[in-house]
């Protein structure tokens, strides 16, 4: 028994493909050599054009101003008090759960932040951080921002837990920043 095969009609979807004619032996050999020469010209033009490599550890690509690198904690410039009041909103916003904040009360003798409380412990686990920047968005006092450092590798996992002192300190090397319009 033969099954009736229903032919699918492409209708409007039909496309005429334009192909070059089959070259034949002599034409094929000629075309092979000709195209080879064209390819050789193309690659040689790359030699003349020069090298595009950036020699990374010595040369660095400048980052954009809004690049989200390693976090920074900030102080008030006039009073030198920490901006962070230990509210833990950053920790709550963190999708990777990598921020740990332990708050403590400011006392008249020991005044660390501008608010009532301050962060006694402020740790970011950089091996878990996904650099989403939600902490920066969540912070009501702009105490934490995303910096520009991206060279964060280390030999031990423990060394990737950044403490408050490390986050408050200025980084040793400044990451080159892209100028306006660059």
């Amino acid at each position: 028994m033969r099954l009736a095969v229903e032919r699918w009609d492409p209708g409007e979807d039909q496309i005429e493909v334009q192909r070059a004619p089959e070259p034949g032996v002599a034409g094929g050999a000629y075309r092979a050599f000709g195209e080879t020469l064209r390819g050789l010209k193309t690659t040689f033009a790359r030699v003349i054009e020069g090298v595009h490599t950036i020699q990374y550890p010595e040369q660095k690509v400048a980052v954009y101003p809004r690049f989200r690198g390693r976090h920074k904690l900030h102080r008030f410039e006039d009073s030198d008090l920490e901006k962070c009041v230990g509210c833990s909103l950053c920790a709550a916003a963190c999708p990777a759960d990598c921020i740990r904040v332990v708050a403590a009360e400011n006392t008249p003798e020991l005044r660390i932040s501008a608010g009532e409380r301050y962060a006694a412990v402020y740790e970011i686990n950089m091996s878990r951080c996904i650099f989403c920047g939600y902490c920066e968005v969540a912070c009501p006092f702009d105490a934490i921002t995303m910096g520009h450092d991206y060279e964060l590798s280390d030999y031990n996992r423990g060394d990737l837990i950044f403490t408050k002192e490390m986050l408050l300190a200025e980084p040793l090397d400044q990451t080159p920043l892209r100028a306006q319009g660059e």
């Binding site: 092979a32 080879t36 690659t43 790359r46 090298v51």
Partner: protein, 341 residues
Amino acid sequence: MSFALVDYFEPWWIQIIKGIVLFAIGLQIVPLVLLAERKLLGRFQGRYGPNRVGPYGLIQPLADIVKLLGKEQSRPETSVGPLFIVAPVISIMTAVGTFAIIPFGDAPHIFGTRVGLYGVDVSIGPLYIFALSAISFYGLMLGGWASGSKYSFLGAMRAAAQLISYEVSQGLALVGVLITAGTLSLTQIVHAQEGMWYIVPQLAGFLIFMVAAFAETNRAPFDLAEADAELVGGYNTEYGGGRFASYYFAEYLNVVVVSGVATTLFLGGWLIPGWHGQPAWTDPFVVLFKMTLFISFFIWIRATLPRLRYDQLMSFGWKILLPLATLNTLATAIIVVAVHK
């Protein structure tokens, strides 16, 4: 019964020194070619290539070799031990053996003794080359088969089919030169080119020879035997450490040898056109310079052409290259007979 005559006119101790010098040159050239390939490929692709080890990355080959030789010699359980070990040795021996007959110059008098600047001047030059390259297939085939791995096996099968089919065209392309020169000795062929390099009258033969040479040396665009994208590494997939190093060494020495053969047969060996009375000490440098040109061309091609499909490779070899080579041979033969009647 007649034997191929080998022309030995040097005393035995000079032959030993020659052997050592040639082997040393060969051993020195290969790492240089390796480095040149990686550097040049980089330039062709808009990057530097290795530039970290030593000044300008010049010690890179040394680092490669130390790394390879320091590795463990592992062998798959399914492999066939003795063949697995012998195969790279076959490859390297044939490559070095072919290197022996490339003439780096004529036979000048050095310290009052006549010394040929080549390993041996066999009177069957090209046949010797083809004999050794036929043996060198066993290196690839046995290596691939004895590895007991399907990738190696596929690579070995491809190598066998490819090398055998392209050797025919390569041989026929050389016949034109041999007919024109009327000799099989490589030094005699160079002398026969004093009027004109054979690249001019034998241009078709030269092109065919070069295409076939790419296939014979397993180089891009004919590197199907080791096609790293599809076969991991082809016949050398299962090899590591020193054995892999010897495969690699043989491969690059083959490139050097093919460049040497092309220099000798088509580019007039040590001859510089229009300069008679050329001092003998320049000969090796001229040959090395011409070889460098060829090696650079090999690298250039590798940076340019993508790998062919297997059926394209075979049909190109048998349907285009072989007829062209045969035609070239026939035409040359007819012309030579007509001219020298």
